[in-house]
Subunit: 280 residues, 2 copies
């Protein structure tokens, strides 16, 4: 595994690889890598000639300076963790990614004010912009995103389609702890007690799924049920609970496949999770 720090060096490598007709698998991360990232990387390894992983804690997608500051960073540990599976680890500096005259931003539909966008102003513009930059530099054949950040997956897919970008965006199943808690870099910030109670998030999603499978078709009823389950968590504060179509559109009646989403704080840690319910 080669560690690449300069944008220009990374771009040159990918250009050469493309001229050799190599396929490139790419995973954009903010570090603090865990088994969830590893599942993306292994899928990329299986499906491509070379694998590039980027680590860049993108300041433009944090709406909260405190959250940015306390975001876990340990590039040494991250590097060792993924080394067996990765050809290039791309770790650009903030100065190279955002020089002082940087001025461009990408907005994707109404996501700026919906779900995550409502509680994290500017998040999706910042995320879409940096993902565009990383894709343009690494020119991947396939780009892998975890479905845990479902809205991010939708926003990136839409951007890539709308802007005719040359990569295939692939969503990868959420990896969970044995307890059901979705893997997240933020989980390390939870106390042991909070970790235990957080397992109820996935349990609530599962129970809601059963409700739908038992022919409850009113999304408001399902949302109210999820809320009533989640308020049982000690020290929790719910931000949103939502039943949406797979394109994240609102719906009045559950008839096709849908996604159940939740965002909440447990103590000082913000967690999100979702599951897809297939309605055959």
């Amino acid at each position: 595994m080669k560690v690449i720090k300069r944008v220009e060096s990374m771009a040159k490598i990918t250009k050469d690889r493309i001229l050799k007709n190599n396929t490139i698998g790419f995973i954009a991360t903010m570090g603090a890598l865990h088994e969830g990232h590893l599942s993306l990387i292994q899928k990329a390894r299986d499906e491509n000639d070379i694998v590039i992983v980027s680590i860049f804690v993108n300041p433009k997608q944090f709406s909260n300076a405190q959250d940015l500051k306390k975001y876990p960073r340990d590039s040494q540990k991250d590097g060792s963790f993924v080394e067996p599976f990765v050809d290039y680890l791309f770790v650009p500096t903030e100065q190279e990614m955002y020089p002082s005259d940087f001025h461009t931003s990408i907005a994707v539909g109404d996501h700026a004010h919906d779900l995550e966008g409502e509680f994290r102003p500017g998040h999706f513009e910042g995320m879409a912009t940096v993902v565009h930059k990383l894709i343009a530099i690494c020119q991947p054949t396939r780009t892998y995103f975890g479905l845990k950040d479902y809205q991010q997956f939708i926003v990136v897919s839409q951007m890539v389609k709308d802007l005719n970008m040359k990569t295939k965006v692939i969503g990868v199943q959420t990896v969970r702890e044995a307890s059901g808690l979705a893997m997240s870099s933020r989980n390390t910030q939870l106390s042991r007690e909070e970790q235990a109670t957080s397992t109820l998030i996935y349990a609530a999603l599962q129970k809601a799924k059963e409700l739908i499978q038992n022919n409850i078709h009113n999304p408001r009823v399902v949302e109210q049920f999820m809320t009533s389950e989640l308020v049982k968590l000690p020290k929790s504060k719910i931000e949103y609970v939502a039943v949406r179509t797979l394109k994240l559109e609102k719906t009045q009646h559950i008839e096709s496949d849908i996604v159940l989403l939740v965002a909440l704080h447990i103590g000082k840690v913000r967690l999100i999770d979702n599951i897809i319910v297939y309605n055959k």
Copy 2:
């Protein structure tokens, strides 16, 4: 010259060309081609293995429905005009460029509300978005823009740099009628009389340039002078007159290279022009 209508076909051709290590020169147009476009095309011809010209009247960059409707369209004539110099003429449909679920837009700095942006709300977002799409489809080594649309050239250059897009943006000198009037697709909409008076625009820019060369360093004085010259044009309505740095920043004192810009209506036709004054 091959005429390509489908986005997918164009993308496949450029992909194959890139694998052959061909260089690609690209010119995005809205048709109604004239000598100004031809100078871009000939430069592209000189500097690249293949030349792609696109014709797409982009509805998203018109703030005025009437202006969009009366924009001249004659693809037959355009095709014959450029055929000797062009390998691929790309004429996508509106439906393929903007399917019904299209949702993405690109904003570049403060240009949305400055100069052209002030008088054409949404123009630069629409222009930047379509230029991104065309560049992503055609993957040019070099992309050529006329300096007549100076702010467009600056916005595209900034977008390409900020988003790490793989093309070199090249500005090409404005081509003028013998009278000095900058070539424009809109000139055909001028009456004979209006064409004659429009020549005073370039004359005013030239006189302002002389003023600067005669050591007038106050941009406000130069702007007032240009205005006083332009109000002499019959049936004219000035939108803006500006003295700016080459990056289009405002300045209090003319000391380095600057650009003089003007936008005005002559009768029902909106015209823009500019000249660069090098201050050595």
